[in-house]
């Protein structure tokens, strides 16, 4: 049994080395996805702006300081490209930036004299999201500014947070991306390794050895595990560099959960391979499954708060019913050091059951196909 498994692994690794193009593509796709995501995720935290400052004095200085300082755990709220008013106008008018904040000359005088000062925020409103984000950020700066003015009628906020600190969106998403790449790689590699035996028409002969196909499946899983580990080794530093993911916090439990996701992906891969027996449809289907897991399961704890009504609520209910979302949150909380949580037996068992089900269907399908090999 063991030597048969090893024979499969050796052979498949040799084939991968001989024709590496496909494996390289399947390694690169999750990496590119992470890079793309890493490049756009800043859009939700930091917005570029130019400031035309015509005013001078202590109030102005303090306000400009606040504009520069306001931030979330993800980083500054504003990326101030310039404070030079001439350059600011030029950049805004040439459409090199979508927002311009004008601090008028009267700003300092008015505040000094106890009068009301007015700012002007010019926005290229081609996307309502951007308009809203600039407006809210400037409001935040104003709120912070007034905090320090000690006005009697200033309304303060007391916040009671559920978790001791906010999880930065970057690392919140990173956990999802990590799961995405584990799932995608394990699914694509197991699926294509299986399908290839049919594409090269070698499956029948393997079945006709006294060893049967159990060593075949286990062998494919081992090869896929090696590929998935290689992929994870590439993904983790990328998550660390691009999104500041705290890879040092990953403990044994996290690795156990990742292994569970590997089994899930591989079981789905075996089933896809057995069902289609062709490489071509396996890749897009795996991408769809892994993407859905990323968008629905990995974002479940976020979506939960705004999924009230419509398609979003429907999707959320689907995600909350799935074991993945629970496990991904466990990984997240462990990595963020929010809670020290023991293994979640319920979700793990549910996941194991799911893996078992996928495999059973695959085995059933394999057995059934054997008796219908007429004329081949």
């Amino acid at each position: 049994m063991f030597s048969a498994i090893l024979a499969i692994v050796r052979k498949d690794l040799l084939l991968i080395i001989r024709k590496p193009m496909f494996s390289i593509i399947s390694l690169i796709v999750p990496l590119l996805f992470i890079i793309f995501y890493g490049l756009v995720i800043h859009t939700s935290s930091t917005n570029p702006i130019v400031i035309a400052n015509h005013s001078e004095g202590p109030y102005t200085e303090r306000f400009v300081d606040i504009l520069q300082e306001i931030k979330s755990v993800d980083g500054s709220y504003l990326e101030i490209i310039t404070l030079d008013s001439e350059l600011a106008y030029e950049k805004y008018n040439n459409r090199q930036v979508d927002a311009l904040l004008v601090i008028p000359e009267s700003f300092e005088e008015n505040l000094h004299a106890g009068k009301q000062a007015a700012l002007k925020l010019k926005v290229f409103n081609i996307n309502s999201d951007g308009t809203k984000n600039y407006q809210l950020r400037i409001d935040h700066a104003l709120y912070e500014f007034h905090k320090n003015l000690n006005g009697d009628s200033f309304i303060s906020i007391n916040e009671d947070m559920t978790f001791i600190q906010d999880t930065p969106m970057k690392s919140y998403v990173s956990t999802g991306l990590l799961i995405f790449s584990v799932l995608l790689t394990s699914m694509v590699s197991t699926g294509t390794l299986m399908a290839r035996e049919w594409e090269e028409r070698t499956a029948k002969l393997i079945v006709l050895t006294p060893k049967g196909f159990l060593p075949l499946i286990v062998g494919k899983w081992m090869t896929a595990l090696l590929v998935t580990v290689a992929n994870t080794v590439l993904v983790l530093p990328l998550l660390y560099i691009l999104l500041g993911y705290l890879i040092g916090q990953m403990n044994t439990l996290v690795w156990f959960y990742l292994l569970l996701f590997f089994f899930y992906g591989s079981a789905a891969g075996v089933l896809l391979g057995v069902l289609f027996k062709k490489t071509l449809p396996i890749v897009p289907i795996s991408i769809v499954i892994a993407m859905s897991e990323f968008l629905v399961s990995s974002l479940e704890s976020y979506i939960r708060g705004f999924a009230h009504g419509g398609m979003t609520e429907w999707l959320w209910r689907l995600g909350s019913w799935w074991p993945s979302s629970e496990i991904i949150d466990r990984i997240r909380f462990t990595v963020e050091d929010l809670e020290q949580i023991a293994i979640n037996w319920g979700a793990s068992f549910y996941m194991a059951l799911w893996v078992g089900l996928l495999l059973t269907i695959a085995l059933f399908k394999l057995n059934k196909q054997l008796s219908f090999t007429q004329g081949q």
């Binding site: 081609i126 600039y134 104003l142």
Partner: protein
């Protein structure tokens, strides 16, 4: 005359292939639509209203006014809040379970202490930014009304109405269908010739293979123009997309040379890689990558510095950066330099066709097939 006949013959053949080999059309239809669907669902295609719980425990005129301020608080497109829960017990429960991110309480001593209480389910910074900043925005509004705000801000927008985020995604999806469509259809048709070994037959006709290339360009541009009507219609119907006839016509006419360029690139890639299984992921990746960092997901100006620099080098970003403003009526014409670039893109398309077929012929003669 003969040449036109040959191009049209190839075009007719291509149209038959495309209608019979439906999988060749699926990608340029599905990829932009799936991307559009995901963006709308995940990044909030609806308005800016955030579901929250709010409870007023203070029996005062002031707290009543603040409640009104919360109700009236709005972005340029919709209210900022959607009050899902007003019952204190339920609000607490939903807040701690994460079913709501924010529970706002105006406490009994609101008038004396000038303080409100927030209970947040701070699952991540993005949710918290959204709820906290909305609250501060509302408090500013309230204080302004009370005459307590020393500094106010007035927003001046480039156009009277904001383009809804969903409409922006919709417009980008139209542009993505156009350029991804023409590129991938050209590549697929070329690969079809290769995989079915009809390339030799075409090479040996007296009119020459280059006419087949022009036929493929014609088909690709024509089909992608038609396919793009799908996301356009969906955007108009469901995504708050304001349709400007003149602008849309201008976009459709002036993008043709760029589509010729893209089809030329598709042909070139087709000649180089030959097989569907390499071509398709490659071109889809180019398409999605351009969509994400080239101004499809959000204008390049909104991206982080590194992404902006990449977008500056990545020429495909002009498709979103130049055509989206026209589509949404932020511009009604193209500058001279833009026109020149667009013209050159078309020339490049023809040039690449020549190169692709040169390459092809040399390969197939030495390939011995």
């Amino acid at each position: 005359m003969k040449k036109w006949q040959a191009i049209l013959a190839v075009h007719n053949r291509n149209m038959k292939i495309l209608t019979r080999q439906k999988q060749m059309l699926i990608q340029p239809i599905i990829v932009p639509l799936v991307l559009l669907f995901l963006m709308v669902v995940v990044f909030g295609g609806g308005g800016d209203d955030w579901p929250v719980a709010i409870v007023n425990e203070s029996n005062s005129l002031e707290s009543q006014e603040l409640m009104e301020a919360f109700k009236d608080s709005e972005s340029n497109i919709t209210p900022y809040f959607d009050f899902i829960e007003m019952n204190s017990y339920e609000a607490k429960k939903k807040g701690s379970e994460g079913r709501l991110h924010l529970f706002i309480k105006l406490p009994a001593d609101f008038v004396e202490n000038k303080n409100i209480e927030l209970k947040t389910y701070n699952i991540n910074s993005d949710a918290m930014k959204n709820v906290r900043l909305r609250v501060e925005h509302t408090l500013n509004d309230y204080m302004e009304k009370q005459g307590a705000l020393k500094v106010t801000s007035q927003q001046v927008t480039a156009q009277p109405n904001d383009v809804w985020r969903s409409a922006f995604y919709g417009g980008s999806s139209v542009l993505l269908t156009l350029f991804l469509g023409s590129m991938i259809i050209a590549a697929n048709l070329h690969a079809f010739d290769y995989e079915n070994r009809t390339i030799k037959e075409i090479t040996l006709t007296p009119t020459g293979s280059i006419m087949a290339g022009f036929g493929i360009i014609l088909t690709s541009v024509f089909v992608s123009l038609i396919l793009s009507l799908i996301p356009l219609t969906l955007s108009i119907l469901f995504l708050h997309f304001d349709f400007y006839f003149y602008n849309t016509l201008l976009v459709y006419l002036s993008i043709v040379p760029i589509l010729i360029g893209c089809a030329g690139i598709g042909l070139f890639l087709g000649a180089y890689f030959k097989q569907y299984r390499v071509l398709q992921p490659l071109i889809i990746l180019i398409g999605i990558g351009t969509y994400i960092i080239g101004g499809g997901f959000a204008g390049v100006n909104m991206l982080m510095p590194l992404a902006r620099e990449i977008a500056d080098i990545w020429v495909f970003s002009v498709i979103f950066e130049w055509f989206n403003p026209v589509l949404h009526n932020f511009a009604t014409s193209f500058s001279f330099s833009q026109c020149t670039f667009i013209f050159l893109a078309g020339v490049l398309g023809f040039l690449l066709t020549f190169i692709a077929y040169r390459f092809q012929i040399r390969k197939s003669i030495f390939g011995g097939q």
